[in-house]
Structures are given as structure tokens and as C-alpha cells.
Symmetry: C2
Subunit: 711 residues, 2 copies
């Protein structure tokens, strides 16, 4: 847990304090003074006696009182020495503004390593480098140089100073919300995303966390932390770099099938994070989540005054997979009683001018809707706040009355209301009143829909949370000793790839079924195995030096008679020797033919940011032509395994298509969990590929398996 001395520092040393107005070392102190920072400020500059009436010190270690945090504005090259000095003084943390570290090639990375080494030695925690700084709004501790940021209950974590500026400007101009903290994470040389998250989870001034992320150094730790945090506080996140990351991730075969940004998106969502793709949605979503209760049943009613808005709202909520359920007869009757005949009391409700002479009618409708047990929240769209502008000034009081009623309804029912108003621009008092009750007001219909949509999404996550965490899956604990031996053997022989029968043995053990693939050392042994199977067999060359067995003439299918099998053995070995005279040939694998069924593919790879990732798809056209695959960060729960299967677009093929029998879903799910367990049990595995697996009506056959160890 991050010490309070970092983000809640009681005293600040400003290294590089300056009299030059344009310098950061001048601006920082001026803003701390102007914004009335609650702690003590120590300018540090050997050439100055004093600054803004404060005594100036030649170095941090010369400051007589304790120093919590140093803001360091001097160039990159000075950092190791400055931190040495901070360390001697016992400073707890440093905010490092300078760029020119890890982002600028090898020399920068070397400097960054050196700087972090010094910091570790003295237990100094670092924000940045290459950061725009940090703001603690409640302590008036502003180390950014961005004035007049509005205070509120949203913690902002951003990897771009510009995006922080965007959020802060929008909060100020477009709504009445604000921030508890801002942190520019910069290069994450020391403190990384998950530690800020942990801190904000416990911060009493923070109700929601808003994040702009370009890339993460510790994606896995972040996910683990987020999984905890989102149970208590909502997180809204925009991850940019979709297009670039898509290009970068074309690594191994499995990864080339989809951009890793898809992996990140799914992983974030699985951790309960609300992921948005459009930066315009960030603040509205954070505002709704920070101030309103989530929706418990994914059911929303739209309350409109006119057709167009109602239609667009319905389209939009349908796209967001929010239900617009029918209203109960009782609810409809109550609405009818207060609305004109032309009104529509279906969902969306259209008051059809019924509020023109009395906007309180809208609040009455909202009350009826929110007291319907089937309705989880209400989206009001259209003209509220503007009845007084459009029709008669005297309606302003009625609108204010309605606003109070809306606000109290939320408190009373524990269900949210979101307001869309064309008249937001005119800043009527009634809309400010709504904000006083935490009801956000947007002039965009689509953003209003999105805001109520994320309340439903987050509510759904919290509702499903329990079913997601209760799982124990450790079928193969006993298998681990033998598994370690197999991996050890490969290492001993200087191999990074397991032989096919080794890989299959490992999988079978953890899957909890006997491995039917057998290594034969002679033609006679091959016949013996085949006779035991009492089925037609496939035979494949086993050699660490032959990767592509078919190319080397090392595969024979559907063999039945002993003579066939003997001949096949000899031919396979001869072909292999012709293909590569140096090859170390271990024998020939004999296995029963897989039989009919649906071809599936399961693979894993290591992602730079998130560690091991699993992929699943239905083989052939679906994977190769349509890229119809799903990814998850490992490990996965039975719940996730089931979701992975159901998320495949071609999932219906598992039910049997055009007279084919259905595939054994239970076995597929079990195999996914087995792979998850194997990757969790043997951290030395870099990649695993089961391609293809044939899923039968009952059970499955792993036709080919490949496991590669880390270098």
C-alpha cells in the first residue's frame, strides 16, 4: 500500500525552484501558494536565498524539517544525484517531471534503471518520470501547473497530460463534477497503475476512478487489483492504441489472429472495469457511476416528450444491450391517469406534450416508473429544464419542484435517473438542482444512454460477482510431479519443445484421462499398440529435430492391418532420415484415429502486459477465414470457460449442424480449465497449442499438441 506521504504529502520540496516565470520550478511554487496548499513548501536551489518569501535551500538534505515528497523539475541527467540527496534526507516520494528516460531508447532506459536503483536503495517511491505531475484536490496540493481544477469525488489516473487537461476542462465546462486526485503515471518506472488503484480504493474522498491508459508495465497486477477494487468502487477506463497494438501483436500464430487490444478489453471487463472506446464517454460514465446507484436488473424505462428522442434512445439502449421491458398493467394505468390521451404509456413512455403546462408531471411519471419493481432505472429525454424557456417563465418553479422530486426519488428507491436536456446550454436552475442530488444532465442523447447503460453494466457485474469467484479447479495436483519430470527431461536434453507424446501425456494427466498415444520403438511394438487399441491408428514420427511431420513424410493415417503398420513404421523412419539425416529419431507415435467430431483449437501465449493468455476457437474456416476466436487472460474460472465457449460467433456449431451430433461442451470446458491449470502449474511454459482437438458427442481427442518452454 502506497504511503500517505506520497499522495497526501504534508510537506513538499521543490527541486529546481526558479525565479524565471516560464519555468516549472517557479510555476509549481506559485500555484501551491495561490491554491493554499495545506502543507509546508521548501524551495530548493543552491543559487537562491529565498523565493516567494520562503527560505530557499541548496539541497534537499539541507532542509531542517521533515520532507514527505520532492517535486523534481531538473533535467533527466541530474536525477540519480538528486535522489541520492533525497534519500539521505529520508524523503518518502518524488514526482519526476523530466522526460528523456525509457521512452528515448537504450541510453534513456539505462538512466532510468540507475535512477530506480537509487530510489530502491533509499525506499523512495517515484511518480513518473515523464509525468505532468499530481494533484490532491482536498489538500490543495497541486503539482501540475493546471489551475482551477474542480474538486469532487473522481480520482483521475492518466498516461497523457493532454487527456488529463481534456477531462479537467470538460468537468469544469460541461458539468459540475470534479476530482479528488489526478495522477500522471508517466513511464511507470516505479509506482505503477495497480498501486494507485489500491490507494484510491481506500481513499474516502474518492467514489469512482477514471483512467486513460496507453500501455501498462504490470497488466497482470493491475487486473488482480482491479478485480478487488471494482467490488467497492467503479472504474471507467479508456485504452488507446487499438490500431498500433493490433500491428504489434502479430507475434506467434495464435496472437496473429486478433489484436491484443481485444485481450485487454476482455480482461478489463472481466475485472469489472467499465471500458469505453470513445473519449467523449469517459467523464459522463464516471459522473454517473460516481454519484448514482447501479441498476440491479438491466431494465430501464425511457421517459420522453416527443417521438424522435424516444426512438433514438430505444435504438441506442438496444445496442447497449439494456432491456426496455414492457410496463405492468398497473403501471400503465397509473400513467394513463395523469397523461393526455395522445400519450404513449408503453416503454418508451411519451408524455406527448403532457408536461407542457406542468413539468411536475414528468417527476410523477418517474415516480410511477421507479416504483414498478421491474424497472431498475429511468432515462428522461428531451426538454426538461426548458419548459420554462419554451412555454412560460412561470414554469421555472414547477421545474425546480420536479427536480427536487427527481432527486428524492433516487434516494428513496435506490434506483438511478439520468437526464437528457436540450436546454443544458441555458444552465437553468432546475438542472443544477438535479446535479445537487447527483443526477447528471447531458445535452447529448447518446451520452445519456451510455451513462445509464454503464450503470446497468456495472450493476450486472456486481450481481454476477459471486458466481464468478467461487471455484476450485485442481484436478491434476497429483500429476504435477510427473509433469515436472517431463519438463526437466526436456531441459536436460537442451530442448525447448516437448515431444508430442510428452505434451499429450502432460495434458492427459491434468485432464484426468489416460493418454492413448504411445511411443513405439520398433515396427513390432507399433503393431502391439495398435492391437491393444483395437481401432485403426495414426502413426507419426517423433524427433526433436522434425517440427513439421507431414512435410517430412512422417505421418500415416487410418492403418489397420499389422503388415500395413509395420510398413508404415519403416517408411516413416526412412522418410525422416531422408528429410534430415542428422535427426535424432526417438521412434514413432501410435494412436487411435480420432473419429468424427467438431474441430476446435485451444492455444496459449504470453502477452507482454498481461502474461499468459488463452485462445479458443472452432477450427477450420471459423478460425482461419473468419478469425472467430476468443481470448482470456489466465487463469480462468468455470464461469469464464463457459463464457468463452458462448462468445464464439459460431457457437451454434457445437449444437450440431445439418445433422451432425452435438459436441461435448462439458469436455471442451474441462479442457479449457485443464489448460488454465497447466499454465498455472508450470510457469516455465511459454506457449501451448492444441490444434486440432476433435470434440466428439462424448469426450474429445487431442490430435496434435505442442508445448514450448521459456528460453
Amino acid at each position: 500500500m502506497l504511503s500517505d506521504k506520497i499522495l497526501n504529502a504534508g510537506s513538499i520540496a521543490v527541486v529546481g525552484a526558479s525565479k524565471t516565470v516560464t519555468k516549472r520550478g517557479y510555476q509549481a511554487i506559485r500555484i501551491l501558494l495561490e491554491e493554499k496548499y495545506e502543507g509546508r513548501i521548501y524551495p530548493v536551489n543552491p543559487k537562491l536565498e529565498s523565493l516567494f518569501g520562503l527560505p530557499c535551500y541548496p539541497k534537499v538534505s539541507a532542509i531542517p524539517d521533515p520532507v514527505d515528497l520532492a517535486l523534481i523539475t531538473t533535467p533527466a541527467a541530474t536525477l540519480p544525484a538528486v535522489l541520492e540527496d533525497c534519500g539521505k534526507k529520508g524523503v518518502a516520494g518524488a514526482v519526476i517531471i523530466a522526460g528523456g528516460f525509457g521512452e528515448l531508447g537504450e541510453a534513456g532506459r539505462e538512466l532510468e534503471r540507475k535512477m530506480v536503483e537509487v530510489a530502491r536503495k533509499y525506499h523512495i517511491r517515484l511518480i513518473g518520470p515523464n509525468t505532468s505531475g499530481m494533484i490532491n484536490m482536498h489538500k490543495h496540493l497541486n503539482l501540475v501547473g493546471l489551475r482551477d481544477a474542480p474538486a469532487g469525488n473522481i480520482a483521475l489516473i492518466s498516461q497523457s497530460g493532454n487527456m488529463a487537461l481534456t477531462m479537467i476542462t470538460e468537468a469544469k465546462v460541461k458539468s459540475r463534477i470534479g476530482f479528488s486526485y489526478y495522477v500522471g503515471v508517466g513511464n511507470e518506472a516505479d509506482i505503477s497503475f495497480h498501486e494507485y488503484l489500491e490507494f484510491f480504493e481506500k481513499d474516502p474522498n474518492t467514489s469512482a476512478i477514471l483512467m486513460y491508459v496507453e500501455g501498462m508495465r504490470n497488466g497482470r497486477k493491475f487486473l488482480q487489483q482491479a478485480y478487488q477494487t471494482t467490488r467497492k468502487k467503479p472504474i471507467v477506463l479508456l485504452k488507446s492504441g487499438r490500431s498500433a497494438i493490433g500491428q504489434r501483436s502479430a507475434g506467434s500464430h495464435t496472437g496473429a489472429l486478433a489484436g491484443m487490444s481485444e485481450v485487454a478489453r476482455t480482461a478489463f471487463k472481466r475485472a469489472g472495469i467499465v471500458v469505453v472506446e470513445n473519449s467523449d464517454e469517459l467523464l459522463p460514465c464516471a459522473e454517473a457511476l460516481a454519484n448514482l446507484p447501479p441498476i440491479k436488473n438491466n431494465n430501464v424505462a425511457i421517459l420522453a416528450d416527443g417521438g424522435g428522442h424516444a426512438t433514438i434512445g430505444s435504438d441506442e439502449l438496444s445496442d447497449l444491450k439494456v432491456n426496455l421491458p414492457d410496463l405492468s398493467d398497473k403501471t400503465k394505468e397509473k400513467l394513463k391517469a395523469i397523461l393526455p390521451a395522445a400519450a404513449s404509456v408503453a416503454n418508451p413512455v411519451d408524455v406527448a406534450g403532457g408536461a407542457d403546462d406542468n413539468p411536475v408531471v414528468l417527476a410523477q411519471c418517474a415516480r410511477i416508473l421507479l416504483h414498478d419493481p421491474n424497472i431498475g432505472g429511468v432515462l428522461v429525454v428531451g426538454l426538461f429544464g426548458g419548459y420554462s424557456i419554451r412555454f412560460s417563465e412561470s414554469l421555472a418553479f414547477a421545474e425546480e419542484d420536479a427536480a427536487h422530486q427527481f432527486g428524492k426519488l433516487v434516494r428513496e428507491t435506490g434506483k438511478p435517473i439520468i437526464m437528457h436536456s436540450l436546454y443544458n446550454f441555458a444552465k437553468p436552475h432546475s438542472l443544477d438542482l438535479l446535479r445537487y442530488y447527483g443526477i447528471p444532465v447531458f445535452d447529448s442523447l447518446e451520452l445519456s444512454c451510455k451513462a445509464i447503460g454503464v450503470l446497468a453494466e456495472y450493476g450486472g457485474y456486481l450481481r454476477g460477482y459471486k458466481s464468478k469467484v467461487k471455484f476450485v479447479f485442481n484436478m491434476g495436483a497429483k500429476a504435477k510431479a510427473r509433469g515436472q519430470a517431463i519438463l526437466h527431461q526436456a531441459r536436460e536434453e537442451g530442448r525447448r519443445a516437448l515431444l508430442e507424446h510428452e505434451a499429450k501425456e502432460l495434458i492427459s494427466m491434468h485432464f484426468g484421462s489416460p493418454c492413448r498415444d504411445q511411443l513405439a520403438g520398433s515396427p513390432d511394438e507399433a503393431v502391439e499398440w495398435a492391437e491393444k487399441f483395437e481401432e485403426p491408428v495414426v502413426m507419426k514420427i517423433v524427433s526433436p529435430d522434425i517440427l513439421h511431420k507431414s512435410e517430412a513424410g512422417g505421418v500415416r493415417l487410418n492403418l489397420k492391418k499389422p503388415a500395413e503398420i509395420k510398413r508404415a513404421y519403416k517408411e516413416i523412419v526412412a522418410n525422416a532420415k531422408a528429410f534430415n539425416p542428422e535427426a535424432d529419431i526417438r521412434g514413432v507415435l501410435v494412436a487411435p484415429m480420432a473419429g468424427d467430431g467438431l474441430e476446435i483449437i485451444i492455444g496459449t501465449k504470453l502477452d507482454d502486459q498481461f502474461g499468459p493468455v488463452i485462445m479458443f476457437g472452432i477450427g477450420g474456416i471459423m478460425v482461419e477465414v473468419l478469425k472467430d476466436v476468443v481470448f482470456r487472460v489466465l487463469p480462468i474460472s468455470p464461469y469464464s470457460a463457459k463464457n468463452m465457449i458462448n462468445e464464439i460467433k459460431s457457437v451454434k456449431l457445437l449444437d450440431g449442424f445439418r445433422g451432425q451430433p452435438p459436441a461435448d461442451r462439458k469436455a471442451v470446458k474441462r479442457l479449457l480449465l485443464t489448460v488454465s491449470e497447466i499454465i498455472g502449474s508450470y510457469p516455465e511454459i511459454q506457449e501451448l497449442d492444441l490444434n486440432p482437438v476433435i470434440a466428439h458427442e462424448e469426450g474429445l481427442s487431442v490430435v496434435d499438441a505442442r508445448i514450448i518452454l521459456k528460453p
Copy 2:
């Protein structure tokens, strides 16, 4: 072409003129007077002598001077009589406010029919009914009751009064643009969308057309008109009702595969319309298209000041399929010469603070970029307009200088610039200057990207236009007489479904290949045909009373020997008789087996709004599980046929998958065009289904064909 007397009326009669302040007949006249309508106003009300100092008339026919247009505010039931009177006076058009017509069930529809009948008799053209009215901004002719709408060069056509209010409010509040006209089309009882379009295409005050559409009565005419209009003026359109239409369109088998909203979207785009899905995008897109040249080569450069905005902008433009090409070495050198070392001169360009003390640098960069022949437009993102706010007030003049340079650059190069500015809210003068030159400024990064994206989309449409129109496809002109005879025969027999061999003959004739399916009337005849084919044959029952041939035991496959064929004939006929003793059995169809190849499906149906629509997909899993199909409104050109094939997600299957030979794309394209021609040649066809067709490496086989005539 709509008469000038409707939308440019020189005199207005207000039927239902009133002294009651809340009545439309009062407000309308007050606003005409307040906004200084250039024409003459005649209040009509038998109970009043005068209103606002104007003489009042008992009925329209009592007005002594000519009347161009009547605004009718009286209830629905009065309409036939009021129009009778207008007709006698020779009024050219009427705006009908009242609701209660077609939208309210059968009684309303009857009233609407009656009203239209009177209007037709007297050649009165009707706007509405159920409309919020019409505004001609340049003549100050405001029949809506919505004050202070801003004047400009965008014509607004809306099917929702609320959405019109939204657009007008946004234009006023968020930008400096405005409208030439607003028309509320209402129920389209008489004048429909395409006529307004034709009028605005020719209107010198209109540069772009903005449309909000819920549904269309004459979709086909609209598309034809739009196809003409978009060559001259851009159209931006939002079609709502995605979710509802999706439900409604689950009609015939073909239609059930995808919502018809997909048909509409594709059809609109094919006519050159810019279709948006988010109402927030409507006005920004219209503003860009109305005031800036389209982009000729789909290549855009981003000019940023800071990383975050550049990254998000790149993601967004990539999603919109706009290219961000590399810059030439020459361009890079020129940029380097004026930017600091930390700047990035790749695309996106990041000036990295290089404009902090001189924002003119941004205009210099834009000049360099737009003079690169490979760059078609520039998107400036970030802080422009705010350098004076953030750093020093004195920079305001430099920003204004830069704004003039940006504006002149657009004129000089014929390439557009779009500006994103965080400081739009502060309304700095420099941003107003940009608007003076037609450069839009948005505070949303995503909307800025969308705006430059549609300039690229529209430019691409205009560029490709020629290749789209040059086509003649009339292979089967000679076939038409025989085709008519086949259809006639079916009608004679009281059949709506063609028999399979009739349908296949029709298709073969138009496709230009002999039909190999033959009707055999006896076992011996069947053998004769089979011997002529010299191939294994399929045999199928032919009976107008048996639709599902397999169910009736009426299909036999892969028959070779004469004895087999004879037996099959007898069995098929016996089975058919057992299945339906009343069945009129015409014989048995004999055809060569189709052979190997890829299964495809082609179908047509009639859409309520757009008329005949064609569907294409790859059979089996692709259509049935993945709904991987494309639609087009008919007729289609060779260009569209090619696009249809390429838009299928599983298109790669046509190239041959896992060792399969490729399918004959030319033949598939030809078959699509043949179907288009057939539907165009025989308007009496309601539905056509070719399912399946086997596409071979060379040529194709229509395995089953079904043609249904209109009732």
C-alpha cells in the same frame, strides 16, 4: 419539381388564425410578423375582423389577392372542406399541422385518403400532415413557432419535431452554422422525401442537406433522387428505428437473416449519402460537408501537440478507414526545420510544445502538410485557440494570424482542415475566424475525426462515381418473350409459384446458358434424358401441389443405370401420390448431378420501403449460423455485384479453402446480375430464391430455384 410557391411562398393564408396566445394560429402570425416575413399574410377565421392589424377573412376563397401557401392549423376532420375551399382559390400548397391521420389506424387513414383526393383534384401539394411545419430562413418564412433559428447553408429535413429542435439548438449553441430551410415531412401524405431533395439540390442557398428519417413511403424514388443529388450536394442522414425495424423485418426466409435497416444503410451509402448512427454526429458532419472541399485520396495527416490526443485520433481515423500515410522525406525535413528536437515528424505530427510560444508554427506545419501532394486533408488536434489562455494573452494575435493562414490554406490548396480545440468553450476570437473561413471547430476529438472522416468518405464516393454508372447489362433481352410466356402460363393455371423447371429455364435464358434440367413424362423419357447427359442424374417430382419435395419422397440422387432411373421415376410418382392423392403431377425433373463446388445462396424479396432487394451469401454454416449475408436494393451494377461478393465476411472461401479449388467468381457475379435483370424485366415477380447454387471452378449449377409471383 416542387413549385416555388410551396417552399418559397410569397403569400400565406393562416387558416385557424386566433387571438388565443397559446394557439398555433396566433403564434404563427406573431412569428411571421416578428421575423419580418417578406411576403403577405392573410389570417383566416370567420369569427374575427382583424388580427395584429391585418384584415381577417372568413375563408381562403374570400381573400382578394393570390395566395401561394395555406398554413392550416384546424383539426384533422376539417381538412377536406378547408382544402376544397383552398382549391377554389387556386392555392398551390398547404402545410397541415394536425395529427390524427395515417398514424392513428384505419379511420385516420381513410380521412388522409379523402384529404389527398381533394388536394389532387385541385393540384394542391401538401406538407404533412402531422408536421411541426416549415421554415425558409432566407425569406423569413417561419411556420414552425421555433424562434431564432440561425440562418445558413444547410437544408434540414426531419421526421421529428424534437430532432429538428435538437439540430437548431445545437447549431445555435455549439457552432456558428445555420439553415437555409427546415421541413417537417410528417406523414408524407403527398410530398415525400425525394421531392424535397430535388428542390434543395437546385436551391442556390443550400450547400448540404441534413436528414432525420424514421421511415419512408417512397424509398425507391428517394434513392433514385439521392443518387442524382449527391453528385452535386452532400447529404447526411440518420435513420432511426434500427431495433424496431429489425423485429419487423423477420418476414420471409431471406429477410429473416438480417434486419432491413442493414438494407437501408447500404442502399443510402450506395446513393452517396453519408449515413451516421449517432445523432451527435449529424450536425458536425453536415457542417464539414457544407463548408469544406471533400478529400480526394482518403489520406489525412494529424497535427497534434501532445501524445494522448494523437493516439486517440489515430485509433479513431483507423476505425473510420481513413489512411494516415507516412510523410515524404521532403515534408519531414521541412517540418524538422521549424519544430523542436522532441517533436515527432511522422504522421501523426506532434509539435511537442513547439507552438507554445508561437501558435503560428501550427499553421506553418499545416501548410507544409497540405502542400505534400500525398496528403488530402489535415486534422489539427489539441490546444489551438487556447495558447493565449494557457501561456500568455499576447499569443492571441498570433493565434488570429494562424487562423487566417489556416483559412487561406484551404482556399489555396482545395484541401480541408478540421480543428479540434479544448478551448472551444472559451470562444476565443481565433476560433471564430476559422469558422469565417468555413473551418469547423469541435471540442470533441471523436467528432473532429468523424468530420474529416466523412470528407474522405464523400470524396471517395465522388471519385468512384463514374465507374459506378457506366454499365449496360441486358443479356437476356431476347429471352423476355419466352419469359413472359412462362409467367403467363402460371397465371393461366392460377399458380403463384413457378414450377422448378420453369424457374430454371427463366434463369438459364437470362444467364445465357442452356438449361440442363428436363421434365420427363415417363420412366423411358427419364432414361433418354439421362443418356443424353452422360452423367449421373438427380430426379425430382414436379407438381404445383408439392412444395417440399424431399418430405414427399420426391427426390432421388446420383442415379446412373437405366433400371435405377426407371425405378426411381415410379417410386417418386408413387410417393408423391401417397403424400397427396389430389396432387397434380406433371412428371419428374431429370438433371445432371451438380458436382463439387462451393454452395452459395441468392435470393430476392420486396421491401416495403425500397422495393426489390437482393441477398447473397455462402451457403451452409455461413448463412445459417453466422448470418453472413449482404443485401442490395435492385437493380445492381457490375460494380455493386463485385462489392457484394467482396463484402461477405467469408469471401476467402471463394478462393478455395484447405485445398478446395477456387469458385468461379465471374459466374457468381454474372448470376447476381442475371437475377437483377430478371427482377427488372418481370415486375410481377415477388420473390426469387436460388438455394443452393453450386459454384464450380468453372461455371455454376443452380440446384434449386423458386420464383413466386405477386398476388
